[in-house]
Each structure stands twice: as structure tokens, then as C-alpha cells.
Amino acid sequence: MHRNLPQNKEALLKSYTTRLKEDVKSMLENFEEIIKLAKGENDSQLNRMTQIEQDTYEMQVRAANIVRAGESLMKLVSDIKQYLILNDFPSVNEAITQNSKLFRTKQQECDQKLMSLRDDIAADLYDLEDEYFTSIYK
């Protein structure tokens, strides 16, 4: 289990790199293909109008691919952020230390206040008990 975990992490990090490269490459390739289509050097045996329609669709698909690659990159950014947040143990430890320090000081404060309050109340209670039991009103 312990050995598995770093390997998984390693694989995940590598997959992030490959995703980045693939998306950028896909953007570039699709753009190049669009430019090539715009040049229109390919001769084919298709009817002219069919060819034009095909080119139009291909361009649209390639443009959509570029958009998809862009959004995939955004997703990648979000994934990396999430990964960092979830696996950044030093900062989590820091936060825990800070929190525990905060709560400890708060606890001490409360304890001190309670103790002084208790002392005051005990002293006052002693006097009040004295007064109550020696009075005729009981």
C-alpha cells in the first residue's frame, strides 16, 4: 500500500505532463491542418461542391478540436490545483499546527478565565453562605 501510493502519484503526474503535451500538440496540429485546407492544394476526384463542403466540415471539426484542447487545458489546470491542494501535506501540517496552537492558546485563556472566575465565585460564595446561614431568613 505504501509502495503503491508513490507509484500512483508518479503515474498521475506523468499523465498530467502527457495531457499538457497532447493538448498543445493537438492545438498546433489542428491549426496546421486548417491552414493546409485553406491553401487547398489537394486534388481529389470528388465533385467540387462536395469537396468544399467536406473542407468546411473538416475545418469546423478541427476548430472544435482546438477549443476542446483549450478547455482540456483549463481542466488540467484545475486538476493540478486540486492535486496540489489535496496532496500538499506540508501546508496542511502547517495549518494543523497553527490551528492547534490557536486552540491551545484559546484553551489556556478559557482555563485561566474559568479559574479566576471560580476563585472569585468561591470567595463570594463563602461570604454569601456565611451571611445566609447566620441570617434569620432561610
Binding site: I52, D55, M59, L86, N99, L125, E129, D130
Partner: protein, 645 residues
């Protein structure tokens, strides 16, 4: 033309200047001869140019001759230096061949027997480029539109977040991560709110799921309360069994009558109205804390229930549904119930309407019991994770220090068994409840005695330093105005089921939970105090103590303790006061005088000296006497009797 002027034309220098000497003389090159000039000009002819054109024409005809002629035309270039006319000759030869072929073709065509020449239809002007350009323009436009739409979508989401101050999912996630345990399982973020890391061994998992809140809902929530705190971009989903509000209600019942209700609840749960049924707008922190509290209550209750079943008490504990019943003291039962309100149905889980009863009957909960319930389980958690040092390098972690020492110290089976005994939570809670009752009852007894008995004042001081199962009260018995003369103080330690009284004389008395014993003891102490106080007052007044007995054998048998007496004589010795104190009757005071001032001889007593033997005691009606209290009256009496009159 005859009149024309003769114009002399001088030919320009035809010969090129080869060199100009220093004295300005020009040395000319010798003019080329006719043949040399011809060869030079012939070399300048560019046959390739014409040949290309020729080849183009010829392409339609035959191609084999073309390559051949090209090959040949190249050769003279290399050999031109050998023989200047070679290229010319080759070209001419090629031309001749071509002309011959042309002549042949023409002659064949002319015959029209073997070959017919048809005019080739001219290729129509191609309209393709323009259509294609328009098509491509349209296609590029469409592609661009797709790209722009994508960009627009990205930008819109970004600007919406920026301008409308939308909460960032990742910042919220970071805050969540700093407070809770999270991990990523495939595509979902899963958190854990159980107390496992704090040492809990409860089997139920506290897994919750973190998702991103839909943006429309955030926008809606923001528009709902613009001034309030910003809604979170996080959505936390807790399992249904941990939703809602839960608390442990502790109820002490005395013959179906509520005595005290303690409620275990966190601060958020004290006001369940703040927790709406649909936890949509509830902040994740509060939601998780509530769920954690539910888990904590469940663990506490499960543990208590298991212990209740395991423990073999004299009166067995009962576990019925969500309720544990245990007997604290005879006639008093401790009910511990788990109330879980998961939002859907409001009051199904309340055992016998504990909540409503508690809120209507006794609104103030015992926060000490509530706190100790918390403390007990947390102490268990703490012990699970914090083992005493030193930790063994090998072997199990966790046995106590005493058990680690048991090996070297060669403990026997009995000692080991003694070590393995540890108090369960239920036992500790029952002990605390028992102590709570003992304390309340002692308080009640002391207060009622203080109310009943006016004469010596009974002042009780409760000690501020106490533990959940032990407290201490100091009781002072004294008379008003005579507290410096005599005061009796005793200390009562209130335990779980017993009381320990340490009296003034150092005697220690253990009392049971039946408080009549305490009451009797205090009454005894009161009368004992009166007797000692009278003696002290007598000493102050110069009276002499003739006799005193704390346990008088004479008289009727007292139901409570024994009667005590004392006998005091005046400084002159002619007056005596006898005091008899019976706890059941009260204090009786008798006085006697001897000798009497006036002596009348009778037949029986003929001499005055017999008067010194002491006379008959006469009882004094104390209640008719002047004086604030008994001691005051006695002081006045003594003063009155000591005065020589």
C-alpha cells in the same frame, strides 16, 4: 547635295586599350581578324533559348528526340573550348533532324490516309478558383466562429467569476483541506469526518463527498442575501445516517418523576432551529461539524450500550431501542437516550418525548454531566493514541506502564487480573450520577436542618475544589454572638455512595447513602455542641464544672444517641445549674441553691449546716427567659445566679 559640308567621321577606337603606360601612351590590342571575330560572335549565340522553345513545340510530338537533343546540346558546352564550332554544328544537325521529322509528319498528314489532324478543343476557362475561394472563405469563417465561441465561453465564465465576486472553488477547497481530511478517489473528492485519527475505534465510517456547487445556485444564493456571507462554491454531501442533529439525553428518573436532565449537545445544536431541514444554504463547516457530532453521539451511545450489556450489575442494566436504563441508587434510575433528528421526521427518535419533557420541565441542564460525558469518550480516544513511554522497539504498543513492569516484577495472575480491570464509561457515568445525587441530598439535608434548627447556627461551606465523584462540605455549628467562645466544625466528604464525616474530635464516621444517618449525626453534633458551649460559657463566667457526661445512662432510652448532662457550680459555690440534653426532647435546665438564705428549722432538718448538702433542683422554663439564644440565656442565668443578693 553638292553644297553639303564635308563631315569627317572618325571611327571610334575599335581596339580596346590593353594598357596605359606611365607616360600616357596607350597600347592597343591587336584587332581581331575576320575569322576570329566570327568565331567570337558565333559563341555568343544562345542556342538553348531557341532550343527550349523548340522543345516546347516538339513536346507534343515526340519526346525521345528531345532528350537526345538535350544530351547533345550539353556536350558541346564542355567541348567548346576544343572546337568552337562544335555546338553550332550540333544545333544545326538537330535542327535538320527536327525539320526532317516535321516534313515527314506533314507529308503523312497531308496524305490523310494514315493520319488525320483534328483541332484540339481548347480547355474552357476554369471557374474553379473563385468558387473554391468563396467556399474556403466560408469554411474558415465557420471555423473561426467555432473558435470564437469557445473563447467567449471561457472568457464569460472567467469574467463572471471576477466581476460578480463569485467564490472560488479551489480556495474553498483549500480551506476545507486545512480543516478536514480529504483525498481523491478516482474522479471524486472524498473526506473523512470520523474520529479515527483521534483514536476512535468506532466501526462506522464518516465519509463525505465534496462536489462543486452549480453556478446557478451560487448566483441565486448570492442574489437572495447580498449582504450576508458569501455562499460557498463547495457542496458537501454527508451520508444520510449522519445528517441532522443528534444528542445524548441523560435523564435521572425517580419513580417516574424527572429529577434532572442533562443534554449532550454542541453549541450549534443547542438551538436546533438554526439548522434547517434542507441543508442547502448551510455552510459546509457547520454541516460537517453537525455530522461529526452525530457520529460522536452514535459512538458514545454504542459504547455505552455495549457496556451496559456486558456489565453484570446487581440490578441488570436494560438496553431498549435507543435507550439505556441503569439503576443509580435504589429508586433512582439513569436513562441515557440517543436522540437523532435527521431532518426528515422531526420527533420520531426521541425516547418517550425526552426532549419536550426536558425542555418544559427543567430548562437548565446540568452542564457538568454534559461536559463529563464529552470528557469520558475523549479521554478514551486520547488513551488510544497516547501510549505511555517508553515505547517498545518490538512488541505491541499500548499496554500500560504497570503491565510493562509486570514482567520484570514477576506479577502473579491475581495482580495481572487486577490490572486488566478498568472502569467502563457507563460505570463512570453512573458513579458521577450517584455522586450528583449524594451531593444534592446532602445539600438538601443540611439546608433543611439549618432551617429547622434556629438556635445554634449551622453554617455549611461547600468546597470549590472537587472532582466529578467527590466533593467536600465543611459544617460549622455555633451560636450567634458566641462563635468565639465555642464552635464545632465537622467536614463531610461526599463520595459516590457513601459519606465520610470527620468530626471535631477527630472521629471518622462512614455513612451510607441513606441520608437519615447524616441528619441524625448532625443533630447529635448540635446537642453535643450545646453542651460543650455551655461549659465554655460557664468557664468564662467563672463557674465551675462539677460533672459532665456525654452518655448518661439514666432516664428513658433515647431513639437517637444518648442523653448528656453537665453540672455547673457558681463561683461562690452556693448555686448549681444542671443541664440535661436529650436529642429527642431538647435541653432542660435545672437550678439548685444551697444554702438557702432563709433557714427555718423543721423537725427533720434542724441545723442550718444541712443546707450545704444541696437542695432540690427546679426546672427553668427556658422559653420564658430573656435572651437571644440558649447560650445567651445561660449566660444571663449564670450572671443572675452569681450576683450576691
Amino acid at each position: 547635295m553638292a553644297n553639303s559640308v564635308n563631315i569627317s567621321i572618325e571611327a571610334p577606337i575599335e581596339n580596346q586599350i590593353q594598357e596605359i603606360t606611365y607616360d600616357g601612351q596607350e597600347i592597343y590590342q591587336a584587332p581581331l581578324s575576320m575569322s576570329e571575330n566570327l568565331a567570337r560572335l558565333a559563341q555568343k549565340i544562345d542556342f538553348s533559348k531557341t532550343e527550349d522553345e523548340f522543345c516546347n513545340i516538339k513536346k507534343e510530338g515526340e519526346s525521345t528526340s528531345e532528350t537526345k537533343s538535350e544530351d547533345e546540346s550539353k556536350e558541346p558546352g564542355y567541348q567548346s573550348s576544343l572546337w568552337p564550332w562544335d555546338s553550332v554544328r550540333n544545333k544545326l544537325k538537330n535542327a535538320l533532324t527536327e525539320v526532317c521529322v516535321l516534313a515527314d509528319v506533314l507529308s503523312i498528314a497531308k496524305e490523310k490516309r494514315y493520319m488525320v489532324l483534328d483541332p484540339i478543343q481548347a480547355e474552357p476557362v476554369d471557374s474553379r478558383p473563385m468558387v473554391q475561394v468563396y467556399g474556403r472563405k466560408k469554411a474558415l469563417g465557420a471555423a473561426g466562429a467555432v473558435l470564437l465561441a469557445g473563447v467567449e465561453r471561457l472568457r464569460a465564465s472567467e469574467t463572471m467569476r471576477m466581476t460578480r465576486n463569485m467564490p472560488d472553488f479551489h480556495i474553498d477547497l483549500l480551506r476545507l483541506r486545512q480543516n478536514w481530511r480529504l483525498k481523491k478517489v478516482s474522479n471524486t473528492i472524498v473526506g473523512d469526518l470520523s474520529y479515527r485519527t483521534a483514536g476512535s475505534k468506532f466501526s462506522q465510517t464518516g465519509v463525505f463527498e465534496v462536489t462543486k456547487a452549480p453556478e446557478e445556485q451560487i448566483a441565486q444564493a448570492m442574489s437572495m442575501n447580498a449582504s450576508g456571507p458569501a455562499p460557498s462554491a463547495l457542496r458537501v454531501t454527508v451520508p444520510p445516517e449522519l445528517q441532522g442533529v443528534a444528542f445524548i439525553s441523560v435523564l435521572c428518573q425517580k419513580e417516574q418523576e424527572d429529577v434532572v436532565t442533562a443534554t449532550l449537545s454542541s453549541s450549534a445544536l443547542n438551538c436546533p432551529g438554526t439548522l434547517p431541514g434542507d441543508g442547502a444554504e448551510l455552510h459546509w463547516q457547520q454541516k460537517l461539524e453537525a455530522a461529526q457530532n452525530v457520529l460522536f453521539c452514535k459512538e458514545l451511545f454504542a459504547r455505552l450500550a455495549a457496556e451496559a450489556v456486558q456489565l453484570d450489575a446487581t440490578i441488570p442494566h436494560m438496553v431498549v431501542g435507543n435507550q439505556i436504563m441503569a439503576t443509580v441508587l435504589p429508586g433512582i434510575q439513569l436513562l441515557i437516550g440517543l436522540c437523532h433528528n435527521n431532518g426528515q421526521n422531526t420527533s420520531n427518535a426521541n425516547p418517550e418525548g425526552v426532549k419536550t419533557e426536558g425542555s418544559s420541565g427543567k430548562s437548565d441542564h446540568d452542564h457538568v454531566l454534559e461536559h463529563s460525558l464529552h470528557q469520558l469518550l475523549r479521554a478514551v480516544h486520547h488513551n488510544n493514541t497516547h501510549h505511555p513511554f517508553p515505547h517498545p522497539a518490538t512488541g505491541p504498543l499500548g499496554p500500560s506502564k504497570r503491565r510493562s513492569l509486570a514482567g520484570p516484577m514477576a506479577a502473579d495472575r491475581y495482580e495481572l487480573l487486577e490490572m486488566s480491570k478498568e472502569q467502563s464509561l457507563l460505570e463512570q457515568i453512573i458513579q458521577q450520577a450517584q455522586h450528583f445525587f449524594m451531593r444534592r441530598r446532602s445539600e438538601y439535608v443540611l439546608d433543611t436542618i439549618a432551617k429547622e434548627v434556629k438556635d445554634p447556627l449551622i453554617v455549611s461551606h461547600w468546597n470549590a475544589l472537587n472532582s466529578p465523584t467527590q466533593s467536600c462540605v465543611k459544617i460549622n455549628i455555633m451560636a450567634y454572638g458566641y462563635d468565639a467562645v465555642c464552635r464545632t466544625s465537622l467536614v463531610v466528604h461526599v463520595g459516590e455512595k457513601t459519606l465520610k464525616c470527620i468530626c471535631r474530635d477527630g472521629k471518622v464516621r462512614h455513612l451510607s447513602y441513606e441520608l437519615q444517618e447524616l441528619r441524625d449525626l448532625i443533630y447529635c453534633q448540635i446537642y453535643q455542641h450545646q453542651m460543650t458551649a455551655v461549659q465554655a460559657v460557664g468557664r468564662c463566667m467563672g463557674w465551675q464544672l462539677l460533672a459532665s457526661s456525654a452518655h448518661l445512662g439514666s432516664g428513658p432510652v433515647e431513639p437517637l444517641a444518648n442523653a448528656s448532662t453537665c453540672l455547673l457550680a457558681s463561683p461562690t459555690g452556693d448555686r448549681m445549674i444542671a443541664i440535661r440534653c436529650e436529642p429527642s426532647v431538647g435541653i432542660q435546665v435545672f437550678i439548685a441553691q444551697s444554702p438557702r438564705k432563709d433557714f427555718f428549722a423543721s423537725e427533720l432538718v434542724q441545723d442550718k449546716k444541712w443546707e450545704n448538702l444541696g437542695g432540690a433542683f427546679k426546672e427553668i422554663k427556658l422559653e420564658k427567659m430573656e435572651g437571644k439564644n440558649f447560650l445567651n440565656k445561660m449566660e444571663l442565668l449564670m450572671a443572675c445566679l452569681s450576683s450576691p443578693s
